[in-house]
Assembly symmetry: C2
Homo-oligomer: 175 residues x 2
DNA sequence: TTTTCCATGTAACTCGTTACATGATTTC
DNA sequence: GAAATCATGTAACGAGTTACATGGAAAA
């Protein structure tokens, strides 16, 4: 249900952290997994605190701005494990925008379609490369596992696209 | 950019229709492609009319409620083709909730993880069957093409999951 | 005669993003 | 001395969903 909460609790399970740290981590390491923005994270962390899932301690380092350090408590740990279990069990059809245009390719001349799909192919290749470029010091488990799945799906997408392009090309030659 | 508009214009490209008809079509035939709800569609159709992309004619059949029949005009046709081209060219990483839990499997005993992932497998199988059950009178092109892609991705997902489960099982045996 | 279908619409709400505000501190 | 970093937060906005309202007609 609450995937944002799962992400935040999961990050905090590794160690207590303050919001800024968490947001840095999300931006730097989870950009391929989630779009969660800072404002959303800060708000969610407060909600998790109000719900009694995380504790807050305020710390200060010299004259730097004070920071709220969040840590998962027992209730939060249970909640996390429950959310995790649900997430692992679940599988839903993702409504992928990439499907939409495919429904209507008959309205475009086949040559145009092929040209557009080849551009799509290129973008997929770039995505694949950007995923490969992610440092894989944690590539067996943790974040790396999620990236591994993304790569598998990208590969399948790319292969499917190739055969579609081929079909369209042979169809053109038949004229 | 505007995928809802693309869907509605695409549906209207086939023939002029009134809102109720369009919503029926979406519910019955596009449930695997989009989640768009009635209120959203009605609102969007009005917006497309205000934007000058679709024309409205009011018709009445006997004593039934009057209906607004929407049809794509020339400007709308151009817009549709532009949106279509953009959509076909595009490919972005889908942020799939199914990735999230994978990052945290180390917090759960391997046996629990395996059990949960097997449940996920089952759900994927069910999704595959439900896609196969969609009448494929239009399965070479049109909606069928989008469903074909979904099936390819589901298959890849399922295969990836299987190898992950296997890895986890052999890991357990090593104890 | 109650339910379902036809046909459209709107008001309230949720979730999340954008954009901005603050203020000290280190870096260029 | 200007810019980037640290650290948190809020107000305004937008897209979309939920839930409801309407009212006649057909089906059960």
């Amino acid at each position: 249900m609450n995937n944002r909460a799962l992400i935040l609790l999961g990050i905090l399970m590794a160690q207590r952290q303050h919001g800024y740290q968490i947001n840095e981590f999300i931006e730097r390491n989870l950009s391929n997994i989630t779009d969660m923005k800072k404002a959303t994270a800060y708000g969610m962390l407060d909600k998790l605190n109000q719900g009694g899932y995380v504790d807050i301690e305020i710390e200060q380092d010299g004259n730097r701005p004070p920071r709220k350090v969040y840590s998962v408590n027992d209730k939060g740990r249970d909640y996390f494990l429950e959310l995790l279990k649900q997430n692992l069990e679940n599988s839903e059809l993702v409504k992928d925008p990439a499907d939409i245009g495919l429904m209507f390719i008959d309205y475009l001349p086949p040559k145009h379609v092929i040209a557009s799909l080849k551009k799509r192919q290129l973008k997929i290749k770039r995505l694949q490369e950007s995923l490969k470029a992610v440092p894989h010091h944690n590539h067996v488990t943790g974040v790396g596992l999620a990236l591994d799945r993304s790569q598998a799906l990208l590969k399948a997408d790319s292969e499917w696209l190739s055969t579609l392009i081929q079909k369209l090309e042979t169809k053109i030659e038949e004229d």
